[in-house]
């Protein structure tokens, strides 16, 4: 495989990651839409479409491994391939969460709505926005966008806590609502996880562009300490690195 062919395959693989990303973005939108309207037909379409997402996942993974095995890529090409292998894991999990939400739609189809969905669609819009921007960062190899996205996770977490508290109240007031409320709680949890996956994608993009692995919701100072004391941490376990003055605790 010549170098020109290598870059062509690398380029095509990146396109496929973006294709997978667009399918997953659409799956989230449609899943929450189906839940809001109790649309079982749409829910079934989402479940069927997940096969295509899984197929793309396999194709991308195969291409990446072939490139690693046959081409011995270095520097930024190596980081790009490593990043793609991680990103598709997050995308595949997001696709699965969309399917989980579609399945809940089917489970609740014959039951009356517990309450009009307000915060769950807001969470979905926020999580989708984070995913879209993380894929923009990947597409443009833009670390600046990637650094900004995780800041929005706090809003998703806040909405999740609000939905959690409200649904617990429903369950406490009316035992018959427990089934429906717990399903909606799961939906909120899946959306919160989708936002976390978008943060993970941003971390891989930052690594791809800047060449240094980072946890974007922790300060750089704190993470450098982790790298400096890695042997100590491995031997001692959690809590073995002191918080530096001004460092941010992980939320």
């Amino acid at each position: 495989m010549g170098r020109e062919n290598f870059h062509r395959i690398l380029d095509e693989t990146q396109q496929n990651v973006l294709r997978m990303g667009s399918l997953v973005e659409e799956a989230i939108t449609r899943a929450v839409d189906a839940l809001s309207r109790s649309d079982v037909k749409l829910a079934d379409e989402i479940l069927r479409a997940d096969d295509y997402i899984d197929d793309l996942n396999v194709l991308i993974e195969t291409n990446c491994l072939n490139l690693l095995a046959l081409q011995q890529p270095m520097a930024s090409d190596l980081r790009t391939i490593a990043a793609m292998l991680d990103i598709i894991i997050d995308l595949e999990r997001i696709g699965d969460h969309a399917c989980d939400i579609a399945q809940i739609t089917k489970n609740l189809a014959n039951e009356p709505q517990l309450k009009p969905l307000i915060d769950i669609p807001l969470m979905a819009a926020k999580a989708r926005e984070m995913l879209r921007e993380s894929l923009d960062a990947f597409s443009h190899h833009d670390a600046e966008i990637a650094h900004a996205v995780p800041q929005k996770d706090d809003e998703v977490d806040r909405l999740y806590r609000k939905v959690f508290a409200e649904l617990i109240q429903f369950m406490a007031k009316d035992a018959k609502a427990i089934g429906r409320a717990s399903n909606l709680l799961l939906v909120a949890l899946y959306l919160e996880r989708i936002a976390d996956h978008a943060t993970n994608i941003c971390e891989r993009v930052v690594y791809m562009v800047e060449g240094v692995p980072r946890k974007l919701k922790r300060s750089v100072v704190e993470f450098d300490q982790v790298l400096a004391h890695s042997d100590e941490i491995m031997q001692s376990g959690p809590g073995s690195v002191d918080q530096p003055a001004g460092g941010q605790a992980r939320s």
Binding site: Q14, Q15, L18, R19, G21, S22, L23, E25, E26, T29, R37, Q113, P116, I118, D119, L122, R128, E129, R132, L135, S139, H140
Partner: protein, 409 residues
């Protein structure tokens, strides 16, 4: 061009003449003469086609200069439709400003990239790939979810010459049209429901009366029929009112009106309904008369519609408060509730005709979507303004400001 050739020829002739003069009597004189003749012949060969061309075909000085008119790029960016051209290698060649706006991307960043890198829409990607592969022309409608959701009509057409050149994509935004169609369907459905319910009730009561009932029951049924008839008349009046308001044919019957007293009356009329729904309805109006020049009946309709809207979207134990006060030489009327609130995406539309904020939530007691549209028209006909603030889950405030003396818009 011809001038330059003439000047060039003249210069060469002068140089040759000087040489010949200088070479008088020299052996090279004949050689130089022969060379000069050859140059003249060559120039004649090149000049002949230019001199033979009709004047009309010769490029003028103005056209030979660089054009200062609009470029193809300017023209494409001025088009309302999105235009995307993709070459045979899958790279974007043209991506105009309208396409950038519809897909929420910066158009300048698109050239040289693939479509999926710039516009992450799997359906569009599949359609363009199919056109590039099979050469098929197709028009589809798709939903694009970016920062804003849009309904787009996309036509893909192959660009062919002796070889495949690429794909042309034309995009038009159908979002507003689909929204209006949905509003129209919703309106027809709501009006049909609003009319069918009382008509069904009237029909049943008439059939019961025809089958024979006692006098007391007759009186009750006739009263109910009268009430349902009034309800249908009110709906039709609303429709006609709105039509008149929108066509500018509304005539205001102006008189001096005590707004405080009018507010108290409007609240009193809604109190039984509020009490039945366990909603706390409060009127905050001064006992001192607050006089303005207005159409009393139309203003009462405004207050009724605003209170009706607030009670419709408020739950038991919540509050609805009507406040009226003078402010900065005008009168401000506020109707505030602690009900379900309105999404920020819906707020710009709530004064549009037929608009119902959440049909699912309002199921069972939805209006026709005309009340707020009528309110807006009446307030503006009085030279006033109306605005709404709201937070989902927390409630809404509708604020009308009216001039004390009439200032027609």
């Amino acid at each position: 061009m011809a001038v330059r050739i003439f000047l060039g020829a003249a210069l060469i002739t002068i140089i040759v003449a000087v040489f010949l003069t200088a070479l008088q009597g020299h052996a090279l004189r004949d050689t130089v003469l022969v060379v000069a003749v050859v140059i003249a012949l060559v120039l004649a060969v090149f000049l002949a086609p230019v001199l033979q061309r009709p004047l009309a075909d010769r490029p003028s000085e103005a056209m030979a200069a660089p054009s200062t008119g609009p470029s193809l790029g300017h023209i494409l960016d001025a088009l309302p439709a999105g235009v995307i051209t993709i070459a045979a290698d899958g790279r974007i060649v043209v991506f105009n400003a309208a396409a950038g706006e519809m897909f929420g991307v910066v158009a300048d960043r698109a050239n040289g990239r693939t479509l999926i890198e710039i516009v992450r829409n799997s359906e569009l990607d599949r359609r363009v790939s199919a056109t590039l592969r099979d050469g098929t022309t197709e028009t589809i409608e798709l939903m694009h979810v970016g920062a804003v959701e849009r309904r787009l009509q996309v036509m893909t057409r192959p660009l062919d010459g002796d070889i495949k050149l690429g794909v042309l994509v034309i995009v038009t935004d159908q979002t507003r049209m689909r929204e209006l169609e949905a509003l129209r369907r919703e309106f027809v459905s709501n009006v049909s429901h609003e009319l069918r319910t009382p008509l069904t009730s009237v029909k049943l009561m008439v059939e019961t009366l025809q089958s024979g009932v006692d006098l007391a029951a007759q009186e009750q049924f006739l009263a109910n029929i009268a009430a349902e008839t009034e309800r249908m008349i009110a709906l039709v009046e609303d429709l006609l009112d709105l039509a008149r308001l929108e066509s500018g044919k509304l005539e205001l019957r102006l008189s001096t009106v005590d707004v405080s007293e009018l507010c108290r009356q409007a609240v009193a009329a809604q109190r039984p309904r509020a009490k039945a729904a366990h909603i706390n309805l409060v009127c905050s109006a001064s006992q001192t008369p607050l006089m303005i020049l207005a159409d009393r009946d139309k203003l009462y309709q405004v207050l009724t519609n605003l209170l009706d809207n607030a009670l419709r979207h408020t739950h038991a134990q919540d509050n609805v408060t009507l406040t009226v006060a003078p402010r900065n030489g005008e009168v401000t009327i506020e109707v505030a509730d602690t009900g379900s609130g309105i999404a920020s995406s819906a707020l710009p539309h709530i004064f549009e005709r037929f608009y119902v904020v959440d049909p699912a939530r309002a199921r069972g007691h939805s209006g026709t979507g005309l009340g707020l549209a009528i309110v807006k028209h009446i307030i503006e006909a009085h030279g006033g303004t109306i605005a709404a603030e709201s937070e989902l889950g927390a409630g809404s405030i509708f604020r009308c400001t009216l001039p004390v003396g009439l200032q027609t818009s």
